[in-house]
Amino acid sequence: MFLTFALVTLVGALAMSRQKNLIVAGLCLVLSFIGMAGIFLLLSNPVAAALQIIVYSGAIVVLVLFVIMLLNAHEEEPAGKARPVQRWAGALAAAVLGAGAFKLVAVSPALHPANVQPTIPAMTLGQLGSDLFHHHLLAFEAVGLLLLAAMVAAVLLVKRDL
């Protein structure tokens, strides 16, 4: 099961990064997110899975698609000047980073925690809610404020005249 979902996620991600048509790229991203939702399910966290689909693929990616369509940017624009150095260096850097990080992480003892229970009770909204409102109320309010600020900022940024 893990393998399936992992593959779905990875394929979606790769496809997104290679896709020329932006709309299709967005849809590949959605596919990737669905795969991730499945991963979350495997991790006994249906709440996270739901949130992932609702918020990420259902809101954020939709927003991105709206903007793509608004700006009529279906295709990536032709390059003013081809910059192979950036592309190859970028790919190489990312790859090396990945390999290095992998080497660094693979030997970490954190990857082998003790007392792993084969099954755990799944996360519930109730649990999430009570934890959120009992222990992280201030953070919750702050995030609300942050969202307000982001809204105002977004409106202001696209105003024609201030």
């Binding site: 996620t9 992932q52 229970q117 996360m123 953070a139 969202l147 809204m151 940024l157």
Partner: protein, 113 residues
């Protein structure tokens, strides 16, 4: 140090290493997308991918510490922040398009020396 073949069996069998490896790969793909693609919107999608890679790692660790609710709470906050970022970022992209008629990040180089 885990012997190599047992590492891969753990990966394939859905152990913690597998999830972490997955998160790592997603992050690297997201980073490569940002570095390689020119369209601002695709770069934005790559950033979202990187964020989600972090989410995967976070929730994987939570699971293998026998279910910590705080991880999910934090995951919620991450989503909230990602939403803010999406709003502002897309507003910026729209603003740039309005001024420069382009969403190519290479054309937004007014600060070059």
């Amino acid at each position: 140090m885990t012997p190599v073949h047992s590492f891969w069996s753990e990966v394939l069998g859905g152990g913690l290493s597998g999830y972490i490896l997955l998160a790592l790969l997603l992050f690297v793909i997201g980073l490569a997308t940002v570095l390689i693609r020119r369209s601002l919107l695709v770069q934005f999608m790559g950033v979202e991918l990187m964020l989600n890679a972090a989410n995967v790692a976070l929730l994987a660790f939570a699971r293998f510490r026998n279910g910590d609710v705080r991880a999910t709470t934090f995951y919620l906050f991450i989503i909230a922040v990602a939403a803010c970022e999406a709003a502002v970022g897309l507003a910026l992209i729209v603003g740039l398009y309005r001024h420069r008629q382009t969403t190519d990040s290479d054309r937004a180089d007014a600060l070059r020396q």
